[in-house]
Subunit: 323 residues, 2 copies
Protein backbone atom coordinates (compact mmCIF):
# COMPACT_ATOMS: atom_id res chain seq x y z
CA UNK A 1 0.00 0.00 0.00
CA UNK A 2 1.45 3.31 -1.13
CA UNK A 3 1.98 5.90 1.64
CA UNK A 4 3.21 9.47 1.78
CA UNK A 5 6.46 8.08 3.19
CA UNK A 6 6.85 5.87 0.12
CA UNK A 7 6.15 8.82 -2.19
CA UNK A 8 8.77 10.92 -0.40
CA UNK A 9 11.24 8.06 -0.67
CA UNK A 10 10.47 7.75 -4.39
CA UNK A 11 11.05 11.50 -4.76
CA UNK A 12 14.48 11.02 -3.23
CA UNK A 13 15.30 8.27 -5.73
CA UNK A 14 13.99 10.34 -8.66
CA UNK A 15 15.90 13.49 -7.68
CA UNK A 16 18.42 14.36 -10.38
CA UNK A 17 17.07 11.61 -12.67
CA UNK A 18 13.49 12.60 -13.46
CA UNK A 19 12.79 16.16 -14.54
CA UNK A 20 11.25 18.74 -12.23
CA UNK A 21 8.61 19.87 -14.72
CA UNK A 22 7.36 23.46 -14.60
CA UNK A 23 3.95 24.65 -13.41
CA UNK A 24 2.84 26.88 -16.29
CA UNK A 25 0.13 29.50 -16.61
CA UNK A 26 -0.90 32.15 -19.11
CA UNK A 27 -3.03 35.25 -18.57
CA UNK A 28 -4.75 34.96 -21.95
CA UNK A 29 -5.70 31.35 -21.24
CA UNK A 30 -7.15 32.37 -17.87
CA UNK A 31 -9.28 34.94 -19.65
CA UNK A 32 -10.72 32.30 -22.00
CA UNK A 33 -11.46 29.95 -19.10
CA UNK A 34 -12.76 32.57 -16.71
CA UNK A 35 -10.57 31.19 -13.93
CA UNK A 36 -6.88 30.86 -13.03
CA UNK A 37 -5.39 27.70 -14.53
CA UNK A 38 -1.98 26.23 -13.67
CA UNK A 39 -0.65 23.37 -15.75
CA UNK A 40 1.79 20.77 -14.42
CA UNK A 41 3.59 20.08 -17.69
CA UNK A 42 4.45 16.38 -17.48
CA UNK A 43 4.61 16.31 -21.27
CA UNK A 44 8.06 17.82 -20.65
CA UNK A 45 9.06 14.82 -18.51
CA UNK A 46 11.69 12.44 -19.89
CA UNK A 47 10.10 10.17 -22.55
CA UNK A 48 7.26 12.69 -22.81
CA UNK A 49 4.99 11.61 -19.97
CA UNK A 50 4.73 11.14 -16.20
CA UNK A 51 5.13 7.38 -16.77
CA UNK A 52 8.92 7.73 -16.46
CA UNK A 53 8.42 8.59 -12.78
CA UNK A 54 6.60 5.36 -11.95
CA UNK A 55 9.00 3.28 -14.01
CA UNK A 56 12.04 4.82 -12.32
CA UNK A 57 10.47 4.43 -8.89
CA UNK A 58 9.66 0.75 -9.48
CA UNK A 59 13.08 -0.04 -10.93
CA UNK A 60 14.99 1.66 -8.15
CA UNK A 61 12.87 -0.11 -5.52
CA UNK A 62 14.01 -3.54 -6.77
CA UNK A 63 16.97 -5.17 -5.08
CA UNK A 64 20.05 -4.89 -7.34
CA UNK A 65 20.20 -8.59 -8.24
CA UNK A 66 16.55 -8.72 -9.27
CA UNK A 67 16.91 -5.49 -11.21
CA UNK A 68 20.00 -6.75 -13.02
CA UNK A 69 18.01 -9.62 -14.53
CA UNK A 70 15.75 -7.09 -16.21
CA UNK A 71 12.13 -5.99 -16.39
CA UNK A 72 9.13 -6.62 -18.60
CA UNK A 73 6.05 -4.54 -19.39
CA UNK A 74 2.93 -4.81 -21.53
CA UNK A 75 2.32 -1.53 -23.31
CA UNK A 76 2.41 0.12 -26.67
CA UNK A 77 2.35 3.57 -25.22
CA UNK A 78 3.84 5.90 -22.64
CA UNK A 79 4.43 3.22 -20.00
CA UNK A 80 6.52 1.25 -22.53
CA UNK A 81 8.75 4.22 -23.22
CA UNK A 82 9.08 5.09 -19.53
CA UNK A 83 10.10 1.56 -18.58
CA UNK A 84 12.43 1.19 -21.59
CA UNK A 85 14.31 4.41 -20.85
CA UNK A 86 14.48 3.87 -17.08
CA UNK A 87 15.89 0.37 -17.66
CA UNK A 88 18.41 1.63 -20.23
CA UNK A 89 19.67 4.27 -17.79
CA UNK A 90 20.25 1.45 -15.29
CA UNK A 91 21.94 -0.69 -17.95
CA UNK A 92 19.47 -3.54 -17.39
CA UNK A 93 17.37 -5.37 -20.01
CA UNK A 94 13.79 -4.30 -20.71
CA UNK A 95 11.37 -6.47 -22.68
CA UNK A 96 8.24 -4.74 -23.91
CA UNK A 97 5.40 -6.95 -25.14
CA UNK A 98 3.43 -5.13 -27.83
CA UNK A 99 0.72 -6.12 -30.30
CA UNK A 100 2.16 -6.71 -33.78
CA UNK A 101 -0.32 -4.19 -35.21
CA UNK A 102 0.87 -1.34 -32.98
CA UNK A 103 1.91 1.77 -34.96
CA UNK A 104 5.39 1.28 -36.44
CA UNK A 105 6.60 4.55 -34.93
CA UNK A 106 5.74 3.35 -31.39
CA UNK A 107 7.58 0.08 -31.93
CA UNK A 108 10.55 1.98 -33.36
CA UNK A 109 10.59 4.48 -30.47
CA UNK A 110 10.44 1.77 -27.83
CA UNK A 111 13.39 0.04 -29.52
CA UNK A 112 15.21 3.37 -29.79
CA UNK A 113 15.03 3.71 -26.01
CA UNK A 114 16.94 0.42 -25.88
CA UNK A 115 14.19 -2.10 -25.15
CA UNK A 116 13.70 -5.52 -26.74
CA UNK A 117 10.24 -5.48 -28.31
CA UNK A 118 8.37 -8.81 -28.41
CA UNK A 119 5.42 -8.69 -30.77
CA UNK A 120 2.35 -10.90 -30.49
CA UNK A 121 -0.73 -11.47 -32.61
CA UNK A 122 -3.76 -10.07 -30.80
CA UNK A 123 -6.14 -12.47 -32.59
CA UNK A 124 -4.28 -15.73 -31.96
CA UNK A 125 -1.90 -15.26 -29.03
CA UNK A 126 -2.36 -14.77 -25.29
CA UNK A 127 -0.37 -11.72 -24.19
CA UNK A 128 -0.27 -12.69 -20.54
CA UNK A 129 0.97 -16.21 -21.31
CA UNK A 130 3.78 -14.80 -23.48
CA UNK A 131 4.75 -12.38 -20.72
CA UNK A 132 4.64 -15.02 -17.98
CA UNK A 133 6.76 -17.43 -20.01
CA UNK A 134 9.35 -14.76 -20.82
CA UNK A 135 9.45 -13.50 -17.25
CA UNK A 136 10.01 -16.93 -15.74
CA UNK A 137 12.49 -18.07 -18.41
CA UNK A 138 14.66 -14.97 -18.00
CA UNK A 139 13.90 -13.94 -14.44
CA UNK A 140 12.35 -10.63 -15.54
CA UNK A 141 10.25 -8.56 -13.13
CA UNK A 142 6.88 -7.34 -14.39
CA UNK A 143 6.35 -3.59 -14.03
CA UNK A 144 2.60 -3.02 -14.09
CA UNK A 145 1.36 0.34 -15.41
CA UNK A 146 -0.71 1.37 -12.34
CA UNK A 147 -1.64 -1.45 -9.97
CA UNK A 148 1.78 -1.48 -8.32
CA UNK A 149 2.52 0.47 -5.11
CA UNK A 150 5.98 1.68 -6.19
CA UNK A 151 4.61 2.86 -9.53
CA UNK A 152 1.88 4.81 -7.72
CA UNK A 153 4.57 6.24 -5.40
CA UNK A 154 6.56 7.41 -8.43
CA UNK A 155 3.55 9.10 -10.03
CA UNK A 156 2.79 10.66 -6.63
CA UNK A 157 6.03 12.64 -6.77
CA UNK A 158 4.14 14.82 -9.27
CA UNK A 159 1.82 15.75 -6.40
CA UNK A 160 4.68 16.70 -4.07
CA UNK A 161 6.03 19.01 -6.78
CA UNK A 162 2.58 20.51 -7.34
CA UNK A 163 2.33 21.35 -3.62
CA UNK A 164 5.74 23.05 -3.60
CA UNK A 165 5.20 24.92 -6.87
CA UNK A 166 1.69 26.02 -5.88
CA UNK A 167 3.08 27.50 -2.66
CA UNK A 168 5.76 29.34 -4.66
CA UNK A 169 3.02 30.74 -6.91
CA UNK A 170 1.05 31.93 -3.88
CA UNK A 171 -1.80 29.43 -4.35
CA UNK A 172 -3.43 28.64 -1.01
CA UNK A 173 -6.15 26.29 -2.18
CA UNK A 174 -7.18 24.74 -5.50
CA UNK A 175 -8.87 21.85 -7.20
CA UNK A 176 -6.35 19.57 -8.88
CA UNK A 177 -7.59 17.88 -12.06
CA UNK A 178 -5.77 14.78 -13.29
CA UNK A 179 -5.85 12.86 -16.56
CA UNK A 180 -7.13 9.49 -15.39
CA UNK A 181 -6.76 6.05 -16.98
CA UNK A 182 -6.04 3.19 -14.57
CA UNK A 183 -5.63 5.73 -11.79
CA UNK A 184 -1.92 5.49 -10.99
CA UNK A 185 -1.25 9.20 -11.46
CA UNK A 186 -4.50 10.23 -9.80
CA UNK A 187 -4.00 7.97 -6.77
CA UNK A 188 -0.38 9.04 -6.38
CA UNK A 189 -1.18 12.74 -6.54
CA UNK A 190 -4.15 12.34 -4.19
CA UNK A 191 -1.96 10.56 -1.60
CA UNK A 192 0.73 13.23 -1.95
CA UNK A 193 -1.87 15.98 -1.42
CA UNK A 194 -3.85 14.28 1.38
CA UNK A 195 -4.26 16.66 4.32
CA UNK A 196 -3.55 19.72 2.15
CA UNK A 197 -6.07 22.29 0.82
CA UNK A 198 -5.78 20.66 -2.63
CA UNK A 199 -8.62 18.38 -3.63
CA UNK A 200 -8.13 15.95 -6.53
CA UNK A 201 -10.72 15.22 -9.21
CA UNK A 202 -10.06 12.80 -12.11
CA UNK A 203 -10.88 13.83 -15.69
CA UNK A 204 -11.73 11.38 -18.48
CA UNK A 205 -12.99 11.36 -22.09
CA UNK A 206 -16.68 10.76 -22.65
CA UNK A 207 -17.69 7.13 -23.28
CA UNK A 208 -14.54 6.05 -21.40
CA UNK A 209 -15.54 7.45 -18.02
CA UNK A 210 -15.16 4.25 -15.99
CA UNK A 211 -13.57 6.13 -13.08
CA UNK A 212 -16.29 8.81 -12.86
CA UNK A 213 -18.98 6.14 -12.96
CA UNK A 214 -17.12 3.94 -10.47
CA UNK A 215 -16.76 6.81 -8.02
CA UNK A 216 -20.48 7.59 -8.38
CA UNK A 217 -21.51 3.94 -8.01
CA UNK A 218 -19.12 3.10 -5.21
CA UNK A 219 -17.75 0.08 -7.07
CA UNK A 220 -15.44 -0.55 -10.03
CA UNK A 221 -17.34 -0.08 -13.30
CA UNK A 222 -16.09 -1.13 -16.72
CA UNK A 223 -15.97 0.71 -20.06
CA UNK A 224 -18.33 -0.70 -22.68
CA UNK A 225 -15.52 -0.64 -25.25
CA UNK A 226 -11.77 -0.02 -25.27
CA UNK A 227 -11.43 1.20 -28.85
CA UNK A 228 -12.49 4.28 -30.75
CA UNK A 229 -11.10 7.00 -28.46
CA UNK A 230 -8.54 9.56 -29.55
CA UNK A 231 -7.36 9.57 -25.91
CA UNK A 232 -5.59 6.20 -26.29
CA UNK A 233 -3.03 6.95 -23.56
CA UNK A 234 -5.62 6.84 -20.78
CA UNK A 235 -8.06 4.14 -21.90
CA UNK A 236 -8.19 1.19 -19.47
CA UNK A 237 -10.94 -1.38 -18.84
CA UNK A 238 -11.69 -0.06 -15.34
CA UNK A 239 -10.01 1.66 -12.38
CA UNK A 240 -7.24 -0.48 -10.86
CA UNK A 241 -7.76 -2.87 -7.96
CA UNK A 242 -5.17 -1.04 -5.90
CA UNK A 243 -5.83 2.46 -7.20
CA UNK A 244 -9.62 2.50 -6.88
CA UNK A 245 -9.85 2.33 -3.06
CA UNK A 246 -7.42 5.28 -2.92
CA UNK A 247 -9.51 7.27 -5.41
CA UNK A 248 -12.68 6.39 -3.51
CA UNK A 249 -11.24 7.63 -0.24
CA UNK A 250 -9.61 10.83 -1.55
CA UNK A 251 -10.94 11.93 -4.97
CA UNK A 252 -13.95 12.99 -6.93
CA UNK A 253 -16.40 13.51 -8.32
CA UNK A 254 -15.03 12.70 -11.79
CA UNK A 255 -15.20 15.12 -14.71
CA UNK A 256 -15.89 14.10 -18.29
CA UNK A 257 -14.91 15.99 -21.46
CA UNK A 258 -15.73 15.48 -25.12
CA UNK A 259 -13.08 14.56 -27.70
CA UNK A 260 -13.51 18.00 -29.25
CA UNK A 261 -12.91 19.68 -25.89
CA UNK A 262 -9.70 17.66 -25.49
CA UNK A 263 -8.56 18.67 -28.98
CA UNK A 264 -9.50 22.31 -28.36
CA UNK A 265 -7.47 22.21 -25.12
CA UNK A 266 -4.49 20.83 -27.10
CA UNK A 267 -4.76 23.80 -29.47
CA UNK A 268 -5.03 26.31 -26.60
CA UNK A 269 -1.99 24.73 -24.93
CA UNK A 270 -0.11 25.19 -28.22
CA UNK A 271 -1.06 28.87 -28.49
CA UNK A 272 -0.87 30.00 -24.89
CA UNK A 273 1.51 27.61 -23.11
CA UNK A 274 3.67 26.53 -26.08
CA UNK A 275 3.63 22.89 -24.99
CA UNK A 276 2.75 19.80 -27.01
CA UNK A 277 0.04 17.73 -25.34
CA UNK A 278 -1.54 14.50 -26.61
CA UNK A 279 -5.35 14.09 -26.47
CA UNK A 280 -5.33 11.84 -23.39
CA UNK A 281 -2.91 14.25 -21.74
CA UNK A 282 -5.21 17.19 -22.43
CA UNK A 283 -8.44 15.97 -20.79
CA UNK A 284 -7.64 17.58 -17.43
CA UNK A 285 -6.81 20.88 -19.12
CA UNK A 286 -10.03 20.58 -21.14
CA UNK A 287 -11.98 20.07 -17.92
CA UNK A 288 -10.20 23.07 -16.38
CA UNK A 289 -11.09 25.31 -19.33
CA UNK A 290 -14.58 24.08 -20.19
CA UNK A 291 -15.78 22.52 -16.92
CA UNK A 292 -18.55 23.98 -14.76
CA UNK A 293 -18.76 24.44 -11.02
CA UNK A 294 -15.03 24.69 -10.54
CA UNK A 295 -13.30 27.07 -8.12
CA UNK A 296 -11.41 30.22 -9.14
CA UNK A 297 -8.08 28.40 -9.17
CA UNK A 298 -7.53 25.05 -10.83
CA UNK A 299 -4.32 23.07 -11.24
CA UNK A 300 -4.29 20.37 -13.91
CA UNK A 301 -1.86 17.81 -15.24
CA UNK A 302 -0.79 17.86 -18.90
CA UNK A 303 0.26 14.29 -18.49
CA UNK A 304 1.77 13.38 -21.85
CA UNK A 305 2.91 14.81 -25.18
CA UNK A 306 3.44 11.84 -27.49
CA UNK A 307 1.00 12.75 -30.22
CA UNK A 308 0.67 11.82 -33.87
CA UNK A 309 1.89 14.89 -35.82
CA UNK A 310 -0.88 14.52 -38.40
CA UNK A 311 -3.53 14.63 -35.67
CA UNK A 312 -1.77 17.60 -34.06
CA UNK A 313 -1.60 19.49 -37.37
CA UNK A 314 -5.26 18.80 -38.12
CA UNK A 315 -6.22 19.97 -34.64
CA UNK A 316 -4.34 23.26 -35.08
CA UNK A 317 -6.12 23.84 -38.37
CA UNK A 318 -9.52 23.22 -36.73
CA UNK A 319 -9.10 25.09 -33.47
CA UNK A 320 -6.72 28.03 -33.91
CA UNK A 321 -6.74 31.34 -35.73
CA UNK A 322 -3.91 31.93 -38.20
CA UNK A 323 -1.38 34.65 -37.36
CA UNK B 1 27.11 49.43 -19.90
CA UNK B 2 25.69 46.12 -18.74
CA UNK B 3 27.80 44.26 -16.18
CA UNK B 4 27.53 40.94 -14.38
CA UNK B 5 26.47 42.91 -11.31
CA UNK B 6 23.61 44.46 -13.26
CA UNK B 7 22.54 41.03 -14.55
CA UNK B 8 22.54 39.64 -11.00
CA UNK B 9 20.50 42.63 -9.83
CA UNK B 10 18.03 42.06 -12.68
CA UNK B 11 17.78 38.39 -11.66
CA UNK B 12 16.81 39.55 -8.18
CA UNK B 13 14.07 41.77 -9.59
CA UNK B 14 12.81 39.01 -11.90
CA UNK B 15 12.71 36.36 -9.16
CA UNK B 16 9.15 35.20 -8.60
CA UNK B 17 7.92 37.24 -11.58
CA UNK B 18 9.59 35.74 -14.64
CA UNK B 19 9.55 31.98 -15.05
CA UNK B 20 12.58 29.81 -14.36
CA UNK B 21 12.38 27.91 -17.65
CA UNK B 22 13.62 24.32 -17.78
CA UNK B 23 16.78 23.05 -19.51
CA UNK B 24 15.44 20.16 -21.59
CA UNK B 25 17.14 17.27 -23.34
CA UNK B 26 16.08 14.06 -25.06
CA UNK B 27 18.14 10.93 -25.74
CA UNK B 28 16.52 10.33 -29.13
CA UNK B 29 17.29 13.88 -30.22
CA UNK B 30 20.92 13.43 -29.15
CA UNK B 31 21.11 10.34 -31.33
CA UNK B 32 19.90 12.27 -34.38
CA UNK B 33 22.37 15.09 -33.75
CA UNK B 34 25.31 12.90 -32.80
CA UNK B 35 25.97 15.07 -29.76
CA UNK B 36 24.36 15.97 -26.43
CA UNK B 37 21.97 18.89 -26.81
CA UNK B 38 20.39 20.84 -23.95
CA UNK B 39 17.65 23.33 -24.74
CA UNK B 40 16.91 26.39 -22.60
CA UNK B 41 13.18 26.55 -23.27
CA UNK B 42 12.43 30.28 -23.27
CA UNK B 43 9.36 29.55 -25.39
CA UNK B 44 7.88 28.58 -22.00
CA UNK B 45 8.62 32.06 -20.60
CA UNK B 46 5.67 34.36 -19.85
CA UNK B 47 4.34 35.83 -23.14
CA UNK B 48 6.15 33.02 -24.97
CA UNK B 49 9.64 34.44 -25.31
CA UNK B 50 12.70 35.67 -23.39
CA UNK B 51 11.61 39.24 -24.21
CA UNK B 52 9.57 39.36 -21.00
CA UNK B 53 12.83 39.25 -19.04
CA UNK B 54 14.27 42.38 -20.65
CA UNK B 55 10.96 44.22 -20.44
CA UNK B 56 10.56 43.40 -16.74
CA UNK B 57 14.17 44.34 -16.03
CA UNK B 58 13.84 47.70 -17.79
CA UNK B 59 10.50 48.53 -16.14
CA UNK B 60 11.69 47.67 -12.65
CA UNK B 61 14.86 49.71 -13.15
CA UNK B 62 12.84 52.89 -13.70
CA UNK B 63 12.16 55.15 -10.75
CA UNK B 64 8.53 54.73 -9.61
CA UNK B 65 7.36 58.14 -10.81
CA UNK B 66 8.78 57.67 -14.30
CA UNK B 67 7.38 54.15 -14.47
CA UNK B 68 3.92 55.32 -13.39
CA UNK B 69 3.69 57.58 -16.46
CA UNK B 70 4.03 54.53 -18.65
CA UNK B 71 6.24 53.05 -21.36
CA UNK B 72 6.28 52.88 -25.14
CA UNK B 73 7.78 50.37 -27.56
CA UNK B 74 8.01 49.84 -31.31
CA UNK B 75 7.34 46.23 -32.13
CA UNK B 76 4.83 43.93 -33.70
CA UNK B 77 6.34 40.85 -32.16
CA UNK B 78 7.68 39.30 -28.99
CA UNK B 79 9.10 42.54 -27.54
CA UNK B 80 5.63 44.13 -27.82
CA UNK B 81 4.02 41.33 -25.84
CA UNK B 82 6.79 41.28 -23.23
CA UNK B 83 6.53 45.05 -22.64
CA UNK B 84 2.71 44.99 -22.67
CA UNK B 85 2.46 42.22 -20.07
CA UNK B 86 5.24 43.57 -17.84
CA UNK B 87 3.56 46.99 -17.82
CA UNK B 88 0.13 45.49 -17.11
CA UNK B 89 1.54 43.58 -14.13
CA UNK B 90 2.84 46.90 -12.81
CA UNK B 91 -0.48 48.59 -13.50
CA UNK B 92 1.17 51.22 -15.71
CA UNK B 93 0.23 52.22 -19.28
CA UNK B 94 1.99 50.67 -22.25
CA UNK B 95 1.74 52.09 -25.75
CA UNK B 96 2.89 49.83 -28.56
CA UNK B 97 3.46 51.42 -31.97
CA UNK B 98 2.76 48.87 -34.71
CA UNK B 99 2.41 49.02 -38.48
CA UNK B 100 -1.26 49.00 -39.55
CA UNK B 101 -0.57 46.01 -41.79
CA UNK B 102 0.72 43.82 -38.92
CA UNK B 103 -1.15 40.51 -38.62
CA UNK B 104 -4.50 41.02 -36.90
CA UNK B 105 -3.74 38.30 -34.36
CA UNK B 106 -0.58 40.13 -33.22
CA UNK B 107 -2.47 43.38 -32.79
CA UNK B 108 -5.22 41.52 -30.90
CA UNK B 109 -2.72 39.71 -28.64
CA UNK B 110 -0.86 42.90 -27.79
CA UNK B 111 -4.18 44.53 -26.86
CA UNK B 112 -5.18 41.43 -24.88
CA UNK B 113 -2.07 41.89 -22.72
CA UNK B 114 -3.49 45.31 -21.85
CA UNK B 115 -1.49 47.63 -24.10
CA UNK B 116 -2.77 50.55 -26.13
CA UNK B 117 -1.85 49.84 -29.76
CA UNK B 118 -1.11 52.84 -31.97
CA UNK B 119 -1.12 51.93 -35.65
CA UNK B 120 0.78 53.79 -38.35
CA UNK B 121 0.97 53.56 -42.11
CA UNK B 122 4.41 52.27 -43.10
CA UNK B 123 4.27 53.97 -46.51
CA UNK B 124 3.28 57.47 -45.41
CA UNK B 125 4.11 57.89 -41.72
CA UNK B 126 7.36 58.15 -39.77
CA UNK B 127 7.29 55.63 -36.92
CA UNK B 128 9.98 57.37 -34.90
CA UNK B 129 8.23 60.75 -35.14
CA UNK B 130 4.97 59.21 -33.94
CA UNK B 131 6.76 57.59 -31.04
CA UNK B 132 8.68 60.69 -30.08
CA UNK B 133 5.55 62.84 -30.14
CA UNK B 134 3.59 60.34 -28.01
CA UNK B 135 6.45 59.89 -25.57
CA UNK B 136 6.91 63.59 -24.96
CA UNK B 137 3.18 64.39 -24.86
CA UNK B 138 2.49 61.70 -22.25
CA UNK B 139 5.84 61.36 -20.52
CA UNK B 140 6.28 57.78 -21.68
CA UNK B 141 9.66 56.05 -21.45
CA UNK B 142 10.89 54.25 -24.56
CA UNK B 143 11.87 50.61 -23.96
CA UNK B 144 14.21 49.65 -26.80
CA UNK B 145 14.29 45.99 -27.83
CA UNK B 146 18.06 45.42 -27.44
CA UNK B 147 20.18 48.56 -27.37
CA UNK B 148 19.38 49.30 -23.74
CA UNK B 149 21.62 48.18 -20.85
CA UNK B 150 18.78 47.12 -18.53
CA UNK B 151 17.13 45.12 -21.31
CA UNK B 152 20.43 43.33 -21.97
CA UNK B 153 20.73 42.70 -18.21
CA UNK B 154 17.27 41.14 -18.18
CA UNK B 155 18.04 38.84 -21.11
CA UNK B 156 21.33 37.97 -19.38
CA UNK B 157 19.43 36.35 -16.52
CA UNK B 158 18.86 33.50 -18.99
CA UNK B 159 22.63 32.96 -18.92
CA UNK B 160 22.79 32.84 -15.12
CA UNK B 161 20.09 30.15 -15.16
CA UNK B 162 21.93 28.21 -17.87
CA UNK B 163 25.07 28.16 -15.70
CA UNK B 164 23.16 26.86 -12.67
CA UNK B 165 21.14 24.30 -14.62
CA UNK B 166 24.19 23.08 -16.55
CA UNK B 167 26.00 22.47 -13.26
CA UNK B 168 22.98 20.54 -11.95
CA UNK B 169 23.04 18.42 -15.13
CA UNK B 170 26.75 17.71 -14.63
CA UNK B 171 27.88 19.73 -17.66
CA UNK B 172 31.42 21.04 -17.13
CA UNK B 173 31.93 22.77 -20.44
CA UNK B 174 29.81 23.47 -23.52
CA UNK B 175 29.23 25.76 -26.45
CA UNK B 176 26.12 27.88 -25.95
CA UNK B 177 24.24 28.72 -29.15
CA UNK B 178 21.83 31.65 -29.11
CA UNK B 179 19.12 32.82 -31.49
CA UNK B 180 20.47 36.22 -32.52
CA UNK B 181 18.65 39.27 -33.89
CA UNK B 182 19.79 42.62 -32.51
CA UNK B 183 21.97 40.78 -30.03
CA UNK B 184 20.29 41.55 -26.71
CA UNK B 185 19.89 37.94 -25.66
CA UNK B 186 23.30 36.95 -27.02
CA UNK B 187 25.11 39.84 -25.34
CA UNK B 188 23.31 39.26 -22.05
CA UNK B 189 24.06 35.54 -21.97
CA UNK B 190 27.67 36.12 -23.01
CA UNK B 191 28.17 38.62 -20.16
CA UNK B 192 26.53 36.24 -17.69
CA UNK B 193 28.82 33.41 -18.82
CA UNK B 194 32.03 35.45 -19.08
CA UNK B 195 34.83 33.71 -17.17
CA UNK B 196 33.03 30.35 -17.26
CA UNK B 197 33.80 27.31 -19.47
CA UNK B 198 30.75 28.21 -21.61
CA UNK B 199 31.50 29.90 -24.90
CA UNK B 200 28.67 31.70 -26.73
CA UNK B 201 28.10 31.58 -30.48
CA UNK B 202 25.19 33.39 -32.18
CA UNK B 203 23.00 31.54 -34.70
CA UNK B 204 21.10 33.24 -37.53
CA UNK B 205 19.05 32.38 -40.62
CA UNK B 206 20.83 32.45 -43.99
CA UNK B 207 20.58 35.74 -45.90
CA UNK B 208 20.00 37.52 -42.57
CA UNK B 209 23.40 36.77 -41.06
CA UNK B 210 24.41 40.34 -40.24
CA UNK B 211 25.92 39.30 -36.91
CA UNK B 212 28.02 36.45 -38.33
CA UNK B 213 29.34 38.75 -41.06
CA UNK B 214 29.89 41.60 -38.61
CA UNK B 215 31.90 39.37 -36.27
CA UNK B 216 33.98 38.14 -39.22
CA UNK B 217 34.53 41.66 -40.59
CA UNK B 218 35.16 43.32 -37.24
CA UNK B 219 32.55 45.99 -37.91
CA UNK B 220 28.74 46.24 -37.99
CA UNK B 221 27.42 44.89 -41.28
CA UNK B 222 23.87 45.30 -42.56
CA UNK B 223 21.38 42.83 -44.03
CA UNK B 224 20.62 43.42 -47.71
CA UNK B 225 16.91 43.10 -47.02
CA UNK B 226 14.64 42.87 -43.96
CA UNK B 227 11.78 40.96 -45.55
CA UNK B 228 11.26 37.46 -46.83
CA UNK B 229 12.46 35.45 -43.83
CA UNK B 230 10.29 33.00 -41.93
CA UNK B 231 12.41 33.88 -38.86
CA UNK B 232 10.68 37.25 -38.42
CA UNK B 233 11.31 37.36 -34.66
CA UNK B 234 15.06 37.80 -35.08
CA UNK B 235 15.41 39.94 -38.20
CA UNK B 236 17.09 43.28 -37.51
CA UNK B 237 19.01 45.63 -39.83
CA UNK B 238 22.35 45.03 -38.07
CA UNK B 239 23.80 44.16 -34.66
CA UNK B 240 23.07 46.84 -32.07
CA UNK B 241 25.39 49.73 -31.26
CA UNK B 242 25.60 48.64 -27.62
CA UNK B 243 25.35 44.89 -28.18
CA UNK B 244 27.93 44.54 -30.94
CA UNK B 245 31.03 45.49 -28.91
CA UNK B 246 29.96 42.91 -26.31
CA UNK B 247 29.50 40.23 -28.98
CA UNK B 248 32.85 41.15 -30.52
CA UNK B 249 34.65 40.78 -27.21
CA UNK B 250 32.96 37.55 -26.03
CA UNK B 251 31.22 35.65 -28.85
CA UNK B 252 31.65 33.90 -32.12
CA UNK B 253 32.13 32.84 -34.74
CA UNK B 254 28.50 33.02 -35.90
CA UNK B 255 26.57 30.04 -37.24
CA UNK B 256 24.08 30.22 -40.11
CA UNK B 257 21.20 27.80 -40.79
CA UNK B 258 18.80 27.45 -43.70
CA UNK B 259 15.07 28.07 -43.34
CA UNK B 260 14.46 24.36 -43.85
CA UNK B 261 16.89 23.50 -41.07
CA UNK B 262 15.03 25.88 -38.73
CA UNK B 263 11.70 24.28 -39.68
CA UNK B 264 13.13 20.78 -39.28
CA UNK B 265 14.40 21.76 -35.81
CA UNK B 266 10.89 23.00 -34.94
CA UNK B 267 9.50 19.58 -35.92
CA UNK B 268 12.17 17.72 -33.92
CA UNK B 269 11.43 19.92 -30.90
CA UNK B 270 7.75 18.97 -31.26
CA UNK B 271 8.51 15.25 -31.38
CA UNK B 272 11.32 14.92 -28.89
CA UNK B 273 11.00 17.88 -26.50
CA UNK B 274 7.24 18.53 -26.77
CA UNK B 275 7.74 22.28 -26.94
CA UNK B 276 6.38 24.76 -29.46
CA UNK B 277 9.13 26.85 -31.03
CA UNK B 278 8.80 29.55 -33.67
CA UNK B 279 11.19 29.59 -36.66
CA UNK B 280 13.36 32.41 -35.32
CA UNK B 281 13.42 30.69 -31.94
CA UNK B 282 14.59 27.44 -33.53
CA UNK B 283 17.73 28.64 -35.34
CA UNK B 284 20.05 27.87 -32.41
CA UNK B 285 18.55 24.39 -32.06
CA UNK B 286 18.92 23.92 -35.82
CA UNK B 287 22.59 24.89 -35.56
CA UNK B 288 23.01 22.48 -32.62
CA UNK B 289 21.49 19.60 -34.58
CA UNK B 290 22.83 20.25 -38.07
CA UNK B 291 25.95 22.34 -37.41
CA UNK B 292 29.49 21.08 -38.01
CA UNK B 293 32.59 21.41 -35.87
CA UNK B 294 30.71 21.65 -32.61
CA UNK B 295 31.78 20.02 -29.35
CA UNK B 296 30.14 16.93 -27.80
CA UNK B 297 27.89 19.05 -25.61
CA UNK B 298 25.90 22.01 -26.86
CA UNK B 299 23.39 24.18 -25.02
CA UNK B 300 21.01 26.25 -27.13
CA UNK B 301 18.22 28.71 -26.56
CA UNK B 302 14.70 27.99 -27.86
CA UNK B 303 14.00 31.66 -27.57
CA UNK B 304 10.35 31.98 -28.55
CA UNK B 305 7.21 30.02 -29.32
CA UNK B 306 4.76 32.48 -30.89
CA UNK B 307 4.22 30.77 -34.20
CA UNK B 308 1.47 30.85 -36.80
CA UNK B 309 -0.48 27.58 -36.32
CA UNK B 310 -0.82 27.12 -40.10
CA UNK B 311 2.96 27.31 -40.54
CA UNK B 312 3.43 24.94 -37.60
CA UNK B 313 0.94 22.43 -39.01
CA UNK B 314 2.54 22.56 -42.46
CA UNK B 315 5.96 22.05 -40.91
CA UNK B 316 4.82 18.96 -39.01
CA UNK B 317 3.41 17.53 -42.21
CA UNK B 318 6.70 18.12 -44.03
CA UNK B 319 9.18 17.03 -41.39
CA UNK B 320 7.69 14.33 -39.17
CA UNK B 321 6.63 10.70 -39.58
CA UNK B 322 3.02 9.90 -38.68
CA UNK B 323 2.41 7.68 -35.63
Amino acid sequence: MTSLTMIRAAAGRLHGHARLTPLLNAPLLDRIAGRRIYVKAECLQLTGSFKFRGAWSALTALDPETRARGVIAFSSGNHAQGVAHAAALHGVPAVIVMPADAPAIKIANTRAYGAEVVLYDRTTQDRDAIGTDLASARGLTLIKPYDEPQVIAGQGTTGLEIATQAAEAGIDTATVLTCCGGGGLTAGIALALENTPFHVRPAEPENFDDTARSLAAGRRETNATLTGSICDAIITPSPGQITFPILQRLCGPGLVVTDDQALHAMALAFTHLRIVVEPGGAVALAAAIFGRDLPDTVICTASGGNVDPVLFATTLQRFTDPA
